[in-house]
Symmetry: C2
DNA sequence: ACGTTAAATCTTGTAGACAACAGTCTTCCG
DNA sequence: CGGAAGACTGTTGTCTACAAGATTTAACGT
C-alpha cells in the first residue's frame, strides 16, 4: 500500500510522475494488472486514476484496448504550445491590473531555486522549477478554471520535453539563458505594462527555456 | 443495462444529461448506490464516470463525502464566461486565415435548427443548437485540445443556464434576438475580417443569447 | 509454402462483497 | 436542562472474482 489519502489520488500522482519522468515512455501500453501490482493496489482505484489521467490528456484510452501513454505528433506539440501561450497571456491580462508587489514574492523564491538548479545542472530540478514558476504565474490571475486548464497543458508540455529535449537541456548555457528569460519576464511583470509583458511573453513562448526549435524540424 | 459501448461512457453521458437538464440540481448529493441502481449498473463503472465528470468540473468530489453537483458562485460564473470568451476568440483567430466557405455549411444547418427552435419556443432545442453552434465554431480551428477544453467550459455554461435563466429564456423575443446575434457573428466570420469578428464576439460574449445580465444582480 | 481459421491466452469490463470512515441519534452525566 | 460521549446507521473506499472481448499463435487445409 502507499498511504491513506485515497489510492486513486496516489495512483494518479505516481503514474503521472512515472510518465513525466520518462520511466513510462510515450506510446507504451499500460497493463492494469501489472501497474496495479507495481503500485500495490487493486485494479478499481487504478482504473479511476487512469480515467482522470485520460481526461487530462496524459494517457489515451481506446475502448477494448486499454490505456497507452500519449504519443505526441508535431501537430499535438503545436497545439500544446499555442494553447499554453493563450492561457498564460490571458492569465497575465487578468493579473496585471490587480497585481500587488507581495504576490511576486513566491515567484522570486522559485527563481532562486531555478538559478540554483541551473548552476548545479540539475535537469529535474530545472523542470520542476519551471513548472512551479509558470503555475505560479497563472495563479496570479486567481482564476481556478484557468489554473486547472493550464496545469493540464503544463503536464503535456513536460511530456514533450521528456521525449525531445534531453540533449539541449544538458548544455548549461541554455539553462542559464532560460533563467534569464524567466527573470526578464518577471521584470516585465513588475512594470505592470501589458505591452511589455506581452512582448516578453511572446519571446518566452516561442523558445521555452528547454528549447524546442531544434527538435521540431526533425520530426514528421 | 444500457448498451455495449462501455458502461462508463454511458453513465458519463447520462449523468451529464441529467445534470445539464436540471434533473439533478446544483449542490445535490449523488449517492453512488442510488445512482448505480437508477442507471442499472454497478458502482465501479459509475465511480469511473464520476471521476471523469469531476475532472470536467461538472461534479465535485470531497474525499470521504462523496460527489455533489457543482454549485456555481458568481465568481465561478465570471470564470466560466471569461474563459469561454478567450478560448472562442483564440479559436477564431486560428480558424479565420485558413477558413473555407464549405466549412461554414454545418453552422448554417445548425442555425436553421436554432431558428426553428426559436419559432416553436423549444428551450431544450435552443440550448442544444446553441451548444452545437459554438462547438462547431471552435472546431473550425482544428485544434483538438482547444475543442476539448471548450467543451468542458460549455457544459459548465449550461450548468449556469439551467439554474438561472428559465424565465428569460421563455420570452420568445429574447430567443429570436439570440438567433440574430448568432447570424451576425456568422456574417462577421464570412467577411474573414478579424476585427469585425472580434467586435461581434465581444457583443456576443457579454450577453449570450440566454441572457445573463438580468440574473447576476440577484445572486450572492 | 501461404493463407485462413480456430483455439488458447491474456486483458479489459463488470459485478458483488467486505472494510473503514463519517454523520447522526440516543443516552448518560454534570 | 444542556452537553458530551458512545453506539448505530449509512456511505464511500477497496478488494476479489467472474464474464466478455481482443490478440496471438498454432494447426490445418489448399
Amino acid at each position: 500500500m502507499l498511504d491513506q489519502p485515497s489510492l486513486v489520488t496516489l495512483a494518479d500522482q505516481e503514474i503521472r510522475r512515472l510518465i513525466l519522468a520518462g520511466e513510462l515512455a510515450p506510446g507504451q501500453r499500460l497493463y492494469e494488472a501489472k501497474l496495479s501490482e507495481q503500485l500495490g493496489i487493486s485494479r478499481p482505484p487504478l482504473r479511476e486514476a487512469l480515467r482522470v489521467l485520460a481526461a487530462q490528456g496524459i494517457v489515451r484510452q481506446t475502448p477494448r484496448q486499454g490505456y497507452r501513454v500519449v504519443e505526441l505528433s508535431e501537430q499535438d506539440v503545436d497545439e500544446i504550445y499555442s494553447l499554453r501561450a493563450v492561457l498564460e497571456q490571458f492569465a497575465l491580462d487578468l493579473a496585471l491590473p490587480a497585481l500587488r508587489t507581495e504576490d511576486l514574492a513566491e515567484l522570486d523564491t522559485i527563481m532562486s531555486r531555478m538559478w540554483h538548479a541551473a548552476r548545479t545542472a540539475s535537469e529535474p530540478a530545472i523542470v520542476a522549477a519551471n513548472r512551479e514558476f509558470h503555475l505560479g504565474l497563472v495563479a496570479l490571475a486567481r482564476h481556478k478554471r484557468l489554473s486547472h486548464a493550464y496545469a493540464a497543458v503544463m503536464d503535456q508540455m513536460q511530456l514533450c520535453m521528456s521525449k525531445n529535449l534531453r540533449a539541449e537541456a544538458h548544455q548549461s548555457g541554455t539553462l542559464f539563458e532560460g533563467c534569464r528569460r524567466h527573470e526578464r519576464l518577471l521584470d516585465a511583470i513588475r512594470t505592470r505594462d501589458p505591452n511589455q509583458v506581452r512582448r516578453e511573453l511572446a519571446r518566452h513562448g516561442e523558445r521555452t527555456f528547454l528549447d524546442r526549435a531544434g527538435s521540431t524540424g526533425s520530426g514528421g
